[in-house]
């Protein structure tokens, strides 16, 4: 069964685009990355899933229930970590967390103490005196305290130092082992690459591609760099992001390796590198060309 099913979802703010015709399936138990730059429509998608805003077209289901009609019921099993954390200034961290727990009709105190001690969060501080990082930690505990079956994370690591990021990712892996589905929205590729099984790339409100991290990184593209002895050049189908500098050429190659070798054999090659590209490089390629393949 799918945890999330999005069908042709569109949302406009007046005339300006939020998202257009988004369709996605996220399987139960999956860690799914949702990646794109600021303003691409990541938060709009999430806010529609959570029924903060209503779509102009299409629909979405979470655990088989309509995300607008059955919103309150669905949220019993959702933990949401917002990108910007805004909580009640007159409360202490503890008050906020126990207030949050009251909505789930079960005792969450054990989990609250457990998570705050892992994240070294001081429960007795007032919300308005918290640093950005501590606000984020409060939000993390708030999202996890009721042991939700689906976690929706919007830019989850902002403000966390590397040590805390590691602990946070450990918690997420642990939750995932217990069966929690994680929808991980971010503009930072390395963390998506580190955490996620599959990833959807979103640009200007549309999904460009949905791919497993392995295939996105490995299968398709190789990073090729060639130094030619006397200024040779090649041009083959499947070459993208071509950069030439002096006698050397650098590009991502998604074509047939055999063709590359054969055409190189006719030229004077001084040096040759064929490497795995970083996800960033592949990502930039999708972004620059906006290619759908």
């Amino acid at each position: 069964m799918n945890a999330i099913e999005i069908r042709n979802l569109s949302k406009y703010y007046g005339k300006s685009r939020g998202i257009e015709d988004i369709s996605l399936d996220i399987a139960e138990g999956e860690i799914f990355g949702f990646i794109g730059p600021n303003g691409a429509g990541k938060s709009t998608t999430i806010r529609t899933l959570l029924a903060f805003i209503f779509p102009n077209g299409g629909s979405a289901k979470i655990f088989g229930m309509d995300c607008i009609k059955d919103s309150a019921k669905i949220k019993m099993n959702i933990g949401y970590l917002p990108s910007e954390v805004n909580y009640y200034d007159d409360m202490k961290v503890k008050d906020l967390l126990f207030y949050s727990a009251k909505f789930y009709k079960k005792d969450c105190s054990k989990r609250i103490y457990e998570l705050s001690s892992i994240l070294e969060l001081d429960l007795n501080k007032r919300i308005d005196s918290l640093s950005y990082g501590n606000r984020k930690k409060t939000a993390i505990v708030q999202a996890l305290l009721h042991e939700p079956k689906l976690l929706i994370l919007d830019e989850p690591t902002g403000g966390l130092d590397p040590l805390m990021q590691n602990r946070f990712f450990e918690i997420l892996r642990e939750e995932n082992r217990k069966g929690t589905t994680i929808f991980f929205s971010s503009h930072i590729l390395s963390e998506v690459q580190r955490m996620c099984d599959r990833v959807a790339i979103i640009k200007e409100g549309r999904i460009l591609k949905v791919e497993t991290i392995d295939r996105l990184a490995g299968d398709k593209f190789k990073k090729v760099k060639i130094d030619f002895a006397n200024g040779g050049r090649i041009n083959l189908p499947g070459m993208v992001n071509v950069e030439t500098k002096g006698k050397s050429m650098e590009f991502l190659f998604g074509g047939k390796m055999d063709e590359l070798i054969k055409s190189l054999s006719e030229l004077q090659v001084e040096n040759l590198w064929i490497e795995e590209p970083s996800l960033e490089e592949i990502f930039m390629h999708y972004y620059e060309t906006g290619r759908k393949d």
């Binding site: 703010y13 903060f52 805003i53 917002p82 009640y88 909505f103």
Partner: protein
Amino acid sequence: MAIFFRELARNRKSFIIWTVILIASNLGMMAMYPVVAEQAGSYNELMKKLPKEMLEGLGMDRLNFSQILDFFAYIFLYIILFGGVYAMMLGSSIISKEESDKTIEFLLAKPVTRNAIVTAKSLCVLFYLILFNGLFIAADYIVFEAIKRDAFDMNKFLLLHFGFFMLQLTFASVGLLISVFIVKAKSVYPVTFGVVLGAFFLNIVSAVSDKLENLKYLTPFKYVNPSDLVASGKIETVYMVIMVLVIIISVVLTYVLYNRKNIAV
């Protein structure tokens, strides 16, 4: 229920401040009654010398200051003005504050419907207004008993306070509705003051000018005008109907519109 108790806690401080100040002002002015009643004859003479329009505007033309209820009606007009401001501020901030503070993102991610949010918050407003008026009636009753010269009409005493409660409910419901559209704190408060003071001003204008008399249908301060109530002993049916309709329509619209609202912070 969590939201209801949370709102009780959050609005407790302002409730205490408003209640204490308004009850204290009310009692403070009532404390002048024995002196005024002593010299009621000369006060009434003095009043006759003031411009008639002004007295009508403030509803003072029919008051006999030797009667405790008449004196009370005179000062109560100003109490209900500030009580109206409090009620509307309570109503207009209770929903909008979540949005202006951006905490609504927290609340909407919880397993609650928007109906439940509006219900919990409206009930909190209702609770505080009932408590406010209960305390007011108790305080006024005690001071009336302490300083009265003759017996007073208990029905009229209660009618005046019931009118105050209805006026507050009316302003609070309009506040609820307005706050669906206007969420920024710096806009909510000016609008609130504008509406209440505007209504107060309409009451004066409608009493002074015959041409503008029909404006009285637009202002709750006319519906439950204390000196009118003391004179007639009742709230006019048409005014009662208007208030009940305004309350029902505002609350229903608040539910309908809030359910449809795109809330992006």
